[in-house]
Amino acid sequence: MAVDFGQICILIVEDNVRNYALLARLLSFMGVKQTEWKRSGWHVLEFAKDNMPVIDLILLDIHLPEEDGYEVLTRIRQDAHFRNTKVVAVTADVSNPNLTRAQSAGFDGFLSKPINVDQFPDQIRRILEGEAVWDLG
């Protein structure tokens, strides 16, 4: 199933604006037209109340203020709005235990920072096609 990047909406949860910028840049080059950005999990859930568009994919940073990525994931999974949304961890805490933890917590994938620019478009595409991507860098 080919993914039409033009039709999908991707939410980036990232407290570092430069990281967001890089991801947004890469996604726009890929042809993703709808990109949303939130700085924290709280913002995501607040945003979901106010007419948020259907989100296909969330790129969720683990290292976040207030709540960490795992807590945010739990709340996203409980929210009916994100019923069909895939959630991928994007983190600089690259280690096997973290990867295992992400797998058992219910993430749909794991991308390490620094982002591998060359592989990133392919990874996103594979995730959207339903394949789990576990990248330790």
Partner: protein, 822 residues
């Protein structure tokens, strides 16, 4: 012992208990009965036999006497009868002569003559009143010529009666109920004179008084079947079947029959009247009649029977007397025997307080005395035995108690030792130990005091009851037992009444009076750490033996306190080190995150630009940006390695052990290495055997090590060959990477695999980085060894071994490894 004594006392009392059931042995009936029966049999049987014999003798004698006398009587009567008959025959002869009858000629008979003869006969008859009738008859014809008669007699039949020459005939009475007549004759020539006599004349002869015996009957039986009887003087024909009116006659009866057969004899038999009699019979051929003398047996034997009765009665009396004597004798015999037997039975039941009270001078008396002596000796022996058994039992109990006590001491010591080594918390230890000691030795109170930090006061820390004493601390050197012992470290024992005590530690159990107290110092080497205080309500506790035991326990507790204190210190240190590690680990994680975040931008954006996503680049821009990008990558690698190394050193590095295909790993590593060596005149070679074992190890780490070694080789080899060799040994594989580079100077070889790569100064191109240090740690973690061999200008070989299946690496993925932390 006390219970035993009570038992014996009870047993003694029961001797005099009249209601105590005697053992029933059944001997009274047995022996006595046997003896009595024996006596009676012995007495009665011979007596009975004697009586029987006597009876038979009497019978026989009576019979003999009777028959003899009857025979004699019959003989006498026969002779009397003969005399009587001859007398009358003579009288007939005299009459014949006096009447001159011989001249009568039968041929000259005439009525006158007959009349004259009859007159003569009448006259003659008158001379003798016994003569009833006189007949003169012809001898041959029987014709009666003349007669003198007073009764109506069939004269014509008379001659026929005497026809056979009989000398005597008995004629039935002509008148019914009348007496018979007896005929006697005198014959001469052709004539005969027949005289008929009154029956009574004959009866007098028969009933001769010589027969004195009671009931004796004399009978006459004539040859033609007439029998006479005294009772019924009528001769009755035997053939008629009846005698008189009522008596049945058996003509074949003994006596009559024998006599009629012409025999004489005597004996006992049943006579013709059916009566058993003793009788004698005698046949007289002259008179053609038999005389019978019979006496009924009942009468004859009356005397004998009386005698027999006397004999039997005497026998019975004798038997009764014998029985009585036998009973008495038996009783005299059996009573003491039964008494002895019963006493023996009581003794057999274990009651030895038995004496037989038999005062006799005979053998039984001797037996009783011997029995009593035996019983006394037995009792004495048994008593001594009981004493001995009791003594031995006491000794055994004492020994058992001692053993148990030692055993308990050992158990308590072991338990205290176990508790001391297993419980690290001092207060729990003290509580457990005091409870143990208090319970095991059944003390009022066992408590532990420890000196405070100043060493001036001994402070109560734990007690066996769980309750604290009235004063929780005492001054070291005070007059209390604890204070004294705490001051000089010498154990002391106090006993009630021994010496007054200023501030004795009161028992926490008020109703249990403290009789003695012992305080034992708890020491570590020479230092007094505290005091073990023990209080007992038994006055004789804490002897020398106990002192040693409690001193030993106190020593153990002292060691335990030391250990616990050391452990507490060690534990605190470990906690601190752990905390430091945790902080370091957290710091490393944080730093890694902090460093990666800017690197994300540096690497990411430089790569975006290099990929010309932001627009085309000039060659110079590209070259410069590439430097930025590569440096970022390098920095990232360093950060990763440093973090890895730190985790390996902290023991927080994860290892995941799985089945690993070595060939596959080698293949993957070689592919990556080819990429690394690209652009360099370096040839990669591999010497790997066909068959490689499946390892149980961390594949990712193994790959990391091989790659690090090859990368290192590539890095230090400008031109030449690199060999990867794999060998399989026994239980392990050996993997080596050889290069043909410049080699490593010996001075550097020492620290090239150093434990602390952080020591290395500078960061030039030639520095090996963290790869080798990480490899060393990883290999050792996986149970192998790594080393290097190097020669200048020849090259360097790194070799490491790896067990096929490590035995000492477990819990994959989460390796705590405190040992690694040290």
């Amino acid at each position: 012992m006390a219970e035993r004594a009570i038992d014996l006392a009870r047993a003694n009392r029961s001797d005099h208990d009249p209601f105590r059931p005697a053992p029933t042995l059944g001997l009274r009936g047995g022996l006595g009965k046997t003896l009595l029966i024996a006596f009676l049999l012995l007495a009665i049987v011979p007596l009975s036999l004697l009586a029987l014999f006597t009876y038979h003798q009497i019978q026989r004698a009576t019979r003999q006497r009777l028959t003899a006398s009857l025979e004699a009587i019959v003989a006498v009567k026969e002779s009397h009868l003969l005399d009587w008959v001859e007398g009358y025959e003579r009288q007939m002869s005299l009459l014949t002569e006096s009447l001159d009858l011989e001249v009568v000629d039968p041929a000259q008979r005439s009525s006158q003559l007959e009349q004259a003869l009859s007159d003569k006969l009448t006259m003659a008859r008158a001379t003798d009143p016994t003569l009833t009738t006189l007949l003169l008859a012809n001898q041959d014809t029987g014709e009666v010529i003349a007669y003198a008669d007073t009764a109506a007699v069939h004269h014509q039949t008379l001659p026929s009666l005497l026809r056979d020459g009989r000398r005597l005939a008995i004629l039935p009475s002509a008148v019914e109920g009348g007496a018979p007549l007896v005929a006697v004759r005198h014959a001469w020539d052709d004539w005969q004179l027949i005289g008929l006599l009154d029956w009574h004349a004959l009866q007098e002869i028969i009933a001769d008084p010589i027969s004195t015996a009671d009931g004796t009957t004399t009978r006459l039986v004539t040859g033609d079947g007439l029998i006479t009887s005294e009772q019924t003087p009528l001769p009755v024909s035997l053939d008629k079947g009846t005698f008189g009116a009522d008596a049945a006659i058996d003509s074949q009866a003994t006596g009559v029959a024998q006599a009629l057969r012409g025999q004489s004899g005597a004996g006992d038999y049943v006579n013709f009247e059916g009566t058993p009699v003793f009788g004698a019979y005698r046949w007289n051929p002259d008179l053609q009649l038999a005389l019978l003398e019979e006496q009924p047996q009942t009468l004859a034997l009356a005397t004998g029977n009386r005698l027999t009765a006397i004999v039997i009665a005497s026998t019975l009396v004798v038997a009764l007397v014998t029985a009585a004597i036998a009973a008495i004798v038996t009783r005299r015999l059996t009573v003491p025997i039964v008494q002895l037997t019963e006493t023996a039975a009581w003794m057999a039941r274990g009651d030895l307080n038995q004496q037989v009270t038999i005062q006799r001078r005979d053998e039984i008396g001797v037996l009783a005395r011997a029995f009593n002596r035996m019983a006394s000796e037995l009792k004495l022996l048994y008593g001594q035995l009981e004493d001995k058994v009791a003594e031995r039992t006491q000794q055994l109990e004492a020994a058992h108690k001692r053993t148990r006590y030692y055993n308990m001491q050992l158990t308590i010591s072991a338990e205290v030792a176990r508790v001391a080594s297993s419980i690290r918390d001092v207060d729990t230890l003290f509580r457990t130990v005091t409870e143990l000691i208090g319970n095991a030795f059944e003390l009022n109170y066992a408590s532990i005091y420890l000196l405070d930090e100043s060493g001036k006061r001994a402070v109560w820390r734990a007690g066996s009851t769980g309750l604290p004493p009235a004063s929780r601390s005492t001054e070291v050197g005070s007059s209390s037992l604890v204070g004294l012992v705490a001051a000089d470290g010498q154990r002391r024992v106090w006993r009630r009444g021994a010496a007054p005590r200023a501030d004795a530690t009161p028992s926490t159990v008020p109703y249990l009076r403290v009789e003695c107290e012992m305080a034992v110092p708890l020491q570590s080497k020479e230092n007094v750490l505290g005091v073990l205080d023990l209080q007992s309500n038994r006055p004789d506790d804490f002897d020398t033996n106990d002192e040693m035991v409690f001193q030993s326990l106190a020593n153990q507790i002292g060691i335990a306190i030391e250990n616990a204190q050391a452990y507490a210190l060690e534990r605190a240190t470990v906690e601190r080190l752990k905390e430091l590690d945790r902080i370091q680990s957290q710091f490393l994680t944080n730093m890694s995150h902090a460093l990666r975040t800017p690197l994300n931008s540096i690497i990411g954006f430089s790569r975006v630009m290099l990929n010309e996503l932001d627009g085309p680049l000039t060659d110079l821009q590209r070259t410069d940006l590439d430097v930025v990008y590569q440096s970022g990558r390098e920095l990232l690698g360093l950060i990763n390695d440093m973090l890895d190394l730190s985790h390996l050193d902290l023991g927080t590095a994860p290892f995941t052990l799985t089945e690993v295909d070595l060939a596959e790993i080698v293949e993957g590593v070689m592919a990556t290495a080819q990429a690394l060596a690209r652009g360099k005149p370096v040839q990669l070679h591999q010497e790997v055997p066909e068959e490689l074992p499946v390892l149980y190890t961390d594949g990712q780490r193994l790959r990391q090590v091989i790659l690090a070694l090859i990368a290192n080789a590539i890095k230090f080899t400008d031109e030449g060959d690199i060999h990867l060799r794999v060998n399989r040994d026994d239980g392990q594989v050996t993997i080596s990477v050889s290069d043909s580079g410049g080699g490593i100077p010996p001075a550097e070889q020492a620290h090239i695999l150093a434990d602390a790569p952080y020591d290395q100064n500078g960061a030039s191109e030639d520095e090996p980085g963290f790869g080798l240090a990480i490899s060393k740690r990883v290999v050792e973690k996986l149970g192998g060894q790594i080393w290097l061999e190097s020669e200048r200008d020849t090259g360097t070989t790194f070799t490491f071994t790896l067990p096929i299946r490590p035995s000492d690496i477990d819990s994959p993925g989460r390796d705590a490894g405190q040992g690694d932390a040290e």
